[in-house]
Amino acid sequence: MTPSSTETDATVVSLDARLEAEALIVDVDGFEGPLDLLLTLSRTQKVDLRKISVLALAEQYLEFIKQAKELRIELAADYLVMAAWLAFLKSRLLLPPDPADEGPSGEELAAHLAFQLERLEAMRDVAARLMARDQKGRDFFVRGVPEDVTRLRKVKYTATLLDLMQAYAQIRTKDEFRPYVMDRESILSMEEALESMRHVIGFAGEWTYLATYLPEGWRLEPARRRSATAATFAAALELVKAGKAEIRQTASFDPIQLRCRRDG
């Protein structure tokens, strides 16, 4: 448990207790988040993490936060969130369970916290074991001279995924960048032209000028008319290919004419 002296009023704490508390708090920088702090505090219990008293740990943590506040140390929000959660956990552990409450029990929450601490400690432990392994370039070595016996000159281009991502990121952050959208406002697709022709071609028993097939709203504005003419012409060719229509042009640059094929 925490030293009892620190629980007294902040104004009358002994110098020793105060120094001790400050030593702890100055260390806050050294902690990598609330879980790390909890793990450090849990070591004072000197028991296997599986047998740890989560209640005692919660109290230690809350006391720590209280001291930090008294000393006007600014704590990151994470630490305060954890404190609020531990206060909630503590009340769950101390009060008799409310039968109307559907949520997890205090014991379940405590067990999960113990699991998280045990897991973090385990990862610390294996990280240390990993780094203690023999390492390439420190304990064992690769061939000093990768050999070049016969010079077969072959250029191989390489790029790393990082190059690729950086290049892409750079393009994406150019000021003038806008997400790519095909500028379709003035473009009629062949499919669209075909669709609109399908509805009317059946009525064209006589030769009809291709221009009359241009959809409504595509006949006046030059850019739109150009696109619609091209698309309609392509669609007309498709219909001819499918045997559904006939097409003719009396001379070069004359208007193109179209009619439905009755037998088609």
Binding site: E32, L35, A122, M123, R133, R143, E147
Partner: protein
């Protein structure tokens, strides 16, 4: 030149009776070839690459096996790195080497822990790393590990948001002298203690087939 022809033979060609025409070199000769190739390369070489470079019909796997035994207890060793093979100096002789070449950047504690979490929990998302460490992972940390080519992007997780996952690389295995991720120190104990499970906090729905996915990864790395 000769190998090019042989290489071509492995493609389904017109001459299906090809193999019998080409006598594979004796196994002892194949062992010499593997020895030469592995000695010459600083990077691990896969059995498939060995076979592609050796004359047609050669059995890279068998030759490597012979070679590995031959070098047992010697000053250099034939080591397995993931699916590939390399020659490395015996670790106990490291003290003889001049270490001026590799200046390993000092890794932060956050980077070391993040690396360990990726190795033991792979494939793992950034959120999962943060959950385990109880603190957010800075951009620089992931960046540094990517740059060292010790971790890479794995498959996206098929959960909402489809987050990217991280896995360790062959370079990681090579650097730490590991044959596969299964040989990580303490991995069996951690698994049997349930510490590699992604256990959701009580009251939150489980994320589904985490564990299975991970097993699959380890299986895949073995085959």
């Amino acid at each position: 030149m000769a190998e090019e022809d042989d290489l071509a033979d492995t493609a389904p060609g017109a001459e299906d009776d090809g193999p019998s025409l080409f006598e594979a070199p004796p196994l002892g000769e194949q062992e010499r070839m593997v020895e030469a190739i592995l000695f010459a390369s600083a990077e691990p070489v896969t059995v498939a690459e060995l076979n592609a470079r050796m004359p047609h019909g050669a059995d890279g796997a068998a030759a490597v096996d012979l070679l590995r035994k031959r070098y047992e207890g010697r000053g250099v060793a034939v080591v397995k790195v993931g699916e590939a093979w390399a020659i490395r100096t015996a670790p106990d002789l490291g003290f003889l080497m001049q270490k001026e070449t590799t200046e390993t950047r000092k890794l932060s504690r956050a980077a070391i822990e993040t690396l360990a979490i990726v190795a033991y929990h792979q494939p793992v998302t950034r959120a999962e790393i943060e959950e385990i460490r109880g603190v957010s992972v800075s951009r620089g940390t992931i960046d540094q590990l990517l740059e060292l080519e010790w971790i890479r992007f794995g498959r996206r997780r098929m959960t909402p948001g489809r987050p990217v996952t991280f896995v360790v690389t062959q370079e990681f295995l090579d650097h730490f002298g590991l044959e596969s991720a299964r040989d990580l120190p303490g991995v069996k104990e951690l698994r049997s203690a349930g510490l590699l499970e992604n256990r959701p906090p009580p009251g939150e729905p489980a994320e589904g087939d985490e564990a299975e996915e991970q097993d699959e990864l380890f299986d895949a790395s073995e085959s």
